[in-house]
Structure formats: structure tokens, C-alpha cells
């Protein structure tokens, strides 16, 4: 142990004796997790007392919980005491021009068709005044403000809209929901907050692109979206550009509260670093995403394109509490090389006449493992529920795996629940057919895969969809032939 570490160790082991031991002036918390670290995070963020208490409660739950092991994923145990849970947001080193950016990364940007401006933003190249993203974001914010829409970083929301945060935080994903959600609740760094007032139809896609403050929200992101009665919003998370991060473990929480007659569309493109060809490195992504359709005729729709991460553990879910509420889940999950994904959804039907639709398209290549895990639950008192699930798996090569775990629990005989599943392979004959028309194998795979995923990609906002198509092709490059 180094001298510094020894000293730290000495201090941290005495923490209960002296109480506060972590230096508030420090930019970074020492490694490990205990109540003082949480106090440190909360103090750093100048949070109100109730939020600190909330975090501590989550931590106490977490301590009593065990890391889940039921998912079809294998990874070395995470040492939670070896993680730094708070660092001050680092200023990205400003580059003078795109020429200074890693050529390999630029090549990828080009293949994805990401605009030069966007490339600059993503790589931290200084942008000129006219199209400066800050000014774009400012006009954007003004338009939203006129409508009473709040769209800001989570930390800002805690300061500026404490009552809303207090009312809804944990209302859909309680602190003790699951191991990772509890961890997130204890230590979450930042994230987004979005509030659409009653009857307001948000006129633009709300995208995390446009957030200025929360660019580096880090590994424990927290998002809260509230749509009041009759409101509408389409929200985009992530981007197709490859995302690298020094932190291996990511445990985000997204909560969505949808009131009566309101509609929320949540679209994600996830492209975190998946590790190298041999399965070394890569992000572990343990995400809890859940929304509640609290009022009658509320609607929540999840669309996700998952291509990154070494390990993905993610089940965006809908609690359909309101009568005639609607939940949807559209997913494309691609795994290549040694990636593992265990993803799916839960549709919890509580309201009468509530409906849900699940379309899941798994694509596995290389040595990867890709599982769909879904639950459709119909409660005793919810009459006339309908669900339709379609779970398809596409295999490229014969060393990868695709698995489907559909759980159906129906407690009311009026429910109509349908489940369809298929597994197919990209046929040699399909590729040869394309080749015979002059299409090379790479392009043939892209064409076939995009055709297969079309139903889901069509649910994405237009410009996102085009990028996502290219991303699928890129993820699978070199996996056939």
C-alpha cells in the first residue's frame, strides 16, 4: 500500500469516530463507499437535507442487498469498494481542430454520417461563435421555457425545482427496487430532469445532445421525466457515436411518470465501448428504466437500439396503472465478439383495458450471447387486458447464442396475451443472392439486418433512425464472410 493510501485507509477506518473525514475541498472522493462518501457527494452538490437522507436510506438498503445473478450474463465480480464515487466534472481538453482527433474515431464518425459540428462537440473541439452549441441550446431553452417546459440537469432541478423532484424522485423506481437502482440512488452523480406541464405538446424532440451542463454525467446517471395530464414529449437519450469511458461499471436509473391522457416516447441509442475483439475491457451497463402510466389513457413507449457495452442488463418497463393505458417496448439489441446482453421489458397490467405491445429483435454475431427476458403480468382486477409480444432472434455464424425467456403471469381470464418467437440465421443463400446482384457481403449483411430490424427502427425519430441503421451495419462489420 502506498503512503497516501495508508493514510487514507487510516482515516476512512476511523470515520465513525470522527464523523466527517472526507476533505470537502477535494475534487475527488477517495475510493470506496460508505456513509461519509455519500455525505460528501451530497454536500458537494449542495443538496437539501431530505435528499441526503434519501441517499442514505438507499445506501442502507443496498448494504443489505445482494448482487443479482439470475441474468444470462457472466462477468468478473465488481469490487464496489474500488470505485471512486465522486469526481468533479472534468473540463474536456479543448482541441484546436478535428485534425487532432484520433483518426480511427474520425473514420467511425464518417461511417455513421455524423455532421462535422456534431463531431466537434463530441470530441471537444472548440466551435466558432455562430453555431456554438451553447447558443443553439439557449434558443432551444427559451422556446421550451415559454411553454413552461422544464428541461435541465438533475442537479439544477434539485436547486430550482426541489418540490417537483421531491414529489417524483423514487416514485417509480424506489430506492430498494434492485441492487443497482439502490446503488444509483445512493450515489447518483447527475442526469436529466424533464417536466411537461398539463396539456403541453412539446414541439421538439428533447435530446440529451442539447444539454450543456450535464455532458459528463458519469457512471451513475439519474433521469426523471414527468408528463402532466394530456402532455406529450418525445425524449432521446444517447447517440450513435462511440462512447468511451474510464469507468467500467454503469448503473443508471430512468423514471418516467405519465399522468392521464399524457404520452411519453423514450428513445435510446446505446453505443458504449463494447470491449475489444477478444472481449477485453468494455462497459458493464446495469440500467433500471421504468415508467408508470398513472392515469387513464396514458401512454408510454420505449424504443431502444442497443449496440454497445460488454455487458448489458436492462429492462425498460411499464406499470400500466391507469385504465386503458398503453405500454410499448421496441428493441433492437446487437451483440458481437464477446458482448453479452440480457434485455427485455416488464409490462405490469393493473388498469382495465390496458394494452401492451412488445417487439424485440435480437441480433447476435461472433461469440456473443443475446437474451430476451420479458414479463407480462395481468392483475386480478384488470379486465380486458391485451398484450402482443414478438421476440425474434437473428444469428450470424454458429458460435453465438440467442435465448428467450418470456414470463407470462395472468390472473384474469378476460386477458388476451399473445406471444410469438422466431429464431433465424442470415442464410448463405441470402448473402449469395445479394452478391449476385453486385452487392458485397458487408453491404448485404447491413441490408439484411436493417430489414430485419425495420419495425423497430421505424419507431425512432427520422434522423436518429438513419444513424441507427448505419450503426447496426458498423457494429456487425466483419462478422460474416
Amino acid at each position: 500500500m502506498s503512503k497516501d493510501a495508508e493514510i487514507l485507509d487510516e482515516f476512512t477506518s476511523k470515520e465513525y469516530e470522527h464523523g466527517w473525514t472526507v476533505d470537502l475541498e477535494a475534487d475527488e472522493a477517495p475510493k470506496g463507499l460508505n456513509e461519509d462518501i455519500i455525505r460528501f457527494i451530497s454536500a458537494k452538490k449542495e443538496e437539501p437535507e431530505w435528499l441526503l437522507e434519501w441517499r442514505l436510506k438507499a445506501f442502507r438498503h443496498w448494504q443489505k442487498m445482494e448482487e443479482p445473478s439470475w441474468a444470462a450474463i457472466k462477468y468478473p465480480k465488481v469490487n464496489f469498494q474500488d470505485i471512486i464515487y465522486y469526481s468533479a466534472p472534468k473540463k474536456q481538453k479543448k482541441l484546436k481542430s478535428l485534425d487532432e482527433v484520433d483518426p480511427e474515431l474520425r473514420e467511425t464518425f464518417k461511417k455513421l454520417g455524423i455532421s462535422l459540428e456534431e463531431q466537434k462537440r463530441l470530441t471537444g473541439v472548440a466551435v466558432d461563435a455562430v453555431i456554438d452549441s451553447v447558443s443553439v441550446a439557449t434558443t432551444f431553452k427559451e422556446t421550451l421555457a415559454e411553454l413552461g417546459i422544464i428541461f435541465c440537469s438533475f442537479s439544477e432541478a434539485v436547486q430550482d425545482h426541489p418540490n417537483l423532484v421531491k414529489k417524483y424522485l423514487g416514485s417509480v423506481v424506489p430506492q430498494n427496487d434492485n441492487y443497482y437502482a439502490a446503488l444509483n440512488s445512493a450515489v447518483f452523480s447527475d442526469g436529466s430532469f424533464c417536466y411537461i406541464p398539463k396539456g403541453v405538446h412539446c414541439p421538439m424532440e428533447l435530446s440529451t445532445y442539447f444539454r450543456i451542463n450535464a455532458a459528463n454525467t458519469g457512471q451513475f446517471e439519474r433521469t426523471l421525466i414527468v408528463a402532466e395530464e394530456g402532455a406529450y414529449v418525445s425524449y432521446l437519450e444517447g447517440c450513435t457515436a462511440p462512447q468511451r469511458d474510464e469507468n467500467q461499471l454503469h448503473a443508471a436509473v430512468v423514471e418516467i411518470y405519465v399522468h392521464a391522457d399524457a404520452e411519453v416516447k423514450y428513445s435510446t441509442v446505446q453505443n458504449w465501448y463494447p470491449g475489444d475483439k477478444n472481449g477485453k475491457g468494455g462497459i458493464y451497463n446495469f440500467v433500471t428504466k421504468r415508467g408508470i402510466c398513472a392515469g387513464d389513457h396514458a401512454k408510454l413507449s420505449w424504443t431502444q437500439v442497443e449496440t454497445g457495452s460488454a455487458v448489458t442488463w436492462k429492462y425498460p418497463s411499464c406499470i400500466l396503472k391507469g385504465d386503458y393505458s398503453v405500454g410499448e417496448f421496441y428493441s433492437v439489441a446487437v451483440t458481437n465478439n464477446y458482448q453479452q446482453a440480457d434485455t427485455g421489458t416488464k409490462m405490469i397490467h393493473l388498469g382495465k383495458g390496458s394494452k401492451s405491445r412488445i417487439v424485440s429483435k435480437g441480433i447476435s454475431a461472433g461469440f456473443s450471447q443475446n437474451s430476451y427476458r420479458g414479463l407480462v403480468q395481468v392483475h386480478k382486477r384488470s379486465e380486458n387486458v391485451r398484450n402482443f409480444s414478438q421476440c425474434d432472434s437473428l444469428l450470424l455464424g454458429d458460435k453465438c447464442g440467442a435465448h428467450t425467456f418470456p414470463y407470462i403471469e395472468v390472473d384474469n381470464s378476460t386477458a388476451q396475451v399473445e406471444h410469438e418467437a422466431t429464431t433465424s440465421k442470415i442464410g448463405e443463400d441470402q448473402i449469395f443472392y445479394c452478391n449476385q446482384r453486385g452487392i458485397d457481403t458487408e453491404a448485404a449483411v447491413a441490408l439484411i439486418v436493417n430489414g430485419y430490424a425495420k419495425e423497430v427502427l421505424n419507431k425512432l425519430p427520422m434522423e436518429f433512425a438513419v444513424e441507427a441503421q448505419k450503426l447496426l451495419a458498423l457494429t456487425l462489420e466483419g462478422s460474416v464472410g
Binding site: 441470402q430 449469395f432 443472392y433 452478391n435 453486385g438 458485397d440 430489414g451
Partner: protein
């Protein structure tokens, strides 16, 4: 003088260790139409697959020149871009990919290979409209997933439509006539004839003399047990229609 387009010399090929083509020689010149006939399992589709470059077939001997170049050296997509087209006996389905989208990718990859600029959406659709007339194909069909749920006849028509779009030099039509009703047969044959020019050539694989009434061949070859055992003019096709293959089998066995 007519230019030699395709020159096959003593071509031998096998699949899964089973010898199927046992020494085939054939020359096709620009402007010609050749018909290949022969009993089921004689190797007709194998010959077209080997020419198109299907991987599961192993070439064990012989050579194939296409415009003087060694065809067997090329990858399947390169052969296609060089102007070789094969209408499949059993066209393949690709769910979620429309014929339009499929062909746009194909046409532009072929154009790129030939040093031509990519067609924009308007140019491409215009081109498509013109070619649709040739085989009387409906636009609604082209919007659907490629070959998925198409009737047998629609699939075959779509093959010829693709041929029209790709403007190949040499087309191999593998039993394009089977599954077509008489009207469709005429339309397809008419399409092939419309596309015919002194610059291109066609190899028609068929079981029925009937097609050859519409697409008139310059030569008819009989493929038997992996070898071309007889060649002649279109009269040979009539003779086959009347007498079947037994007499050739006998002739060949005696030889």
C-alpha cells in the same frame, strides 16, 4: 466478327465431395442466345452457380474466361459487377428489404464499380419506371419485402425486372419459365427479347421447348450427367420435346 464473351473449357466442379460437372466446354459470343436443356439433376443449376461464384461449389479443373479475364478468380459480387447476371431458379426472400431498396443498393454498387456516379432517388425511380414496363410489373410489388410472399410467377418476373435494372452483359436464366402461366411466359420472354442486343448474350436453362418459341436460341445444348453431350440448333429442342432424353442417354452410353 463476333466477340467471344464467355469461354468455358473442360470445367469440373463438385459439391460436398460429389463430382457434378464432369468437364464442360462452351463458348458464348456477344449477341447469341444459348439454351441448355437436360434431365433433372444433370447439373444445369450447378453450372450457373459455379459461373456466378457460389462458394459451396468447388472447381476441380478447367477454366472460365469472361471477356478474356479469368472469371473464377473473381468474388461473386465482382462477377456481377463485371456484367454476369443469374436469374435464380429459386429466388431468395429477404424480409424487411423492399425490391426497390435492394436494387438501389445493387445498382449503385455496380455503377461505382464501372466508374459511374451513384443515381439519386429521382433518377433511380425514373429508371425503375421505365424498366417496370418491360416486364409489366406492378409498383406495389416492388415496395414489398423482396420475394416474401410473392407468387411463383411474381418471383420470376421480379428476377427479369432486376436483370433489366442491372443491364448485364451475360444473363443466365435458370428455369425462369417454370411456374409461369402462358401470359406471363410471353411477357417475360418479351422482356428478355427487348433487352437483347448485339452487345449482350443469354443462356436459357429450360425443360420446355415452349419457351424457345418465344426466346429463339442460336444453339441448344444437352447437359447429361455433368457433361454437354449434344449441341445443335433449335430443332434439337423439338426433338427433345418429342422423344425425351432416353435416346441421347443411349447414344451417350454407346459412345
Amino acid at each position: 466478327m463476333l466477340r467471344i464473351m464467355l469461354k468455358i473449357k473442360d470445367l469440373k466442379a463438385s459439391v460436398e465431395g460429389k463430382e457434378i460437372l464432369k468437364g464442360i466446354s462452351l463458348e458464348v459470343k456477344a449477341g447469341e442466345v444459348h439454351a441448355i436443356m437436360g434431365p433433372n439433376g444433370s447439373g444445369k443449376s450447378t453450372l450457373s452457380s459455379v459461373l456466378a461464384g457460389r462458394e459451396e461449389y468447388t472447381v476441380d479443373g478447367g477454366s472460365v474466361e469472361f471477356f478474356g479475364k479469368d472469371l473464377l478468380e473473381f468474388a461473386p459480387e465482382e462477377r456481377a459487377r463485371e456484367g454476369l447476371f443469374m436469374a435464380f431458379q429459386y429466388p431468395v426472400e429477404i424480409p424487411g428489404v423492399s425490391t426497390t431498396n435492394f436494387l438501389k443498393t445493387a445498382v449503385n454498387q455496380v455503377r461505382e464499380h464501372r466508374g459511374l456516379p451513384a443515381l439519386d432517388a429521382v433518377q433511380f425511380l425514373q429508371n425503375m419506371k421505365d424498366k417496370m414496363k418491360i416486364v409489366d410489373i406492378d409498383q406495389s410489388l416492388l415496395k414489398r419485402s423482396l420475394n416474401e410472399g410473392f407468387s411463383g410467377g411474381e418471383k420470376k418476373r421480379n428476377e427479369i425486372f432486376q436483370m433489366a435494372m442491372l443491364e448485364p452483359k451475360l444473363s443466365i436464366l435458370d428455369e425462369t419459365d417454370s411456374g409461369l402461366d402462358i401470359d406471363a411466359l410471353k411477357i417475360v420472354a418479351n422482356g428478355v427479347n427487348t433487352l437483347k442486343s448485339p452487345e449482350n448474350a443469354t443462356i436459357v436453362i429450360t425443360h420446355y421447348q415452349r419457351l424457345l418459341d418465344y426466346i429463339v436460341p442460336d444453339f441448344v445444348h444437352v447437359l447429361l450427367n455433368g457433361k454437354i453431350v449434344k449441341s445443335g440448333t433449335k430443332e434439337l429442342a423439338y426433338e427433345l420435346e418429342e422423344r425425351g432424353y432416353d435416346w441421347i442417354k443411349a447414344e451417350f452410353a454407346n459412345a
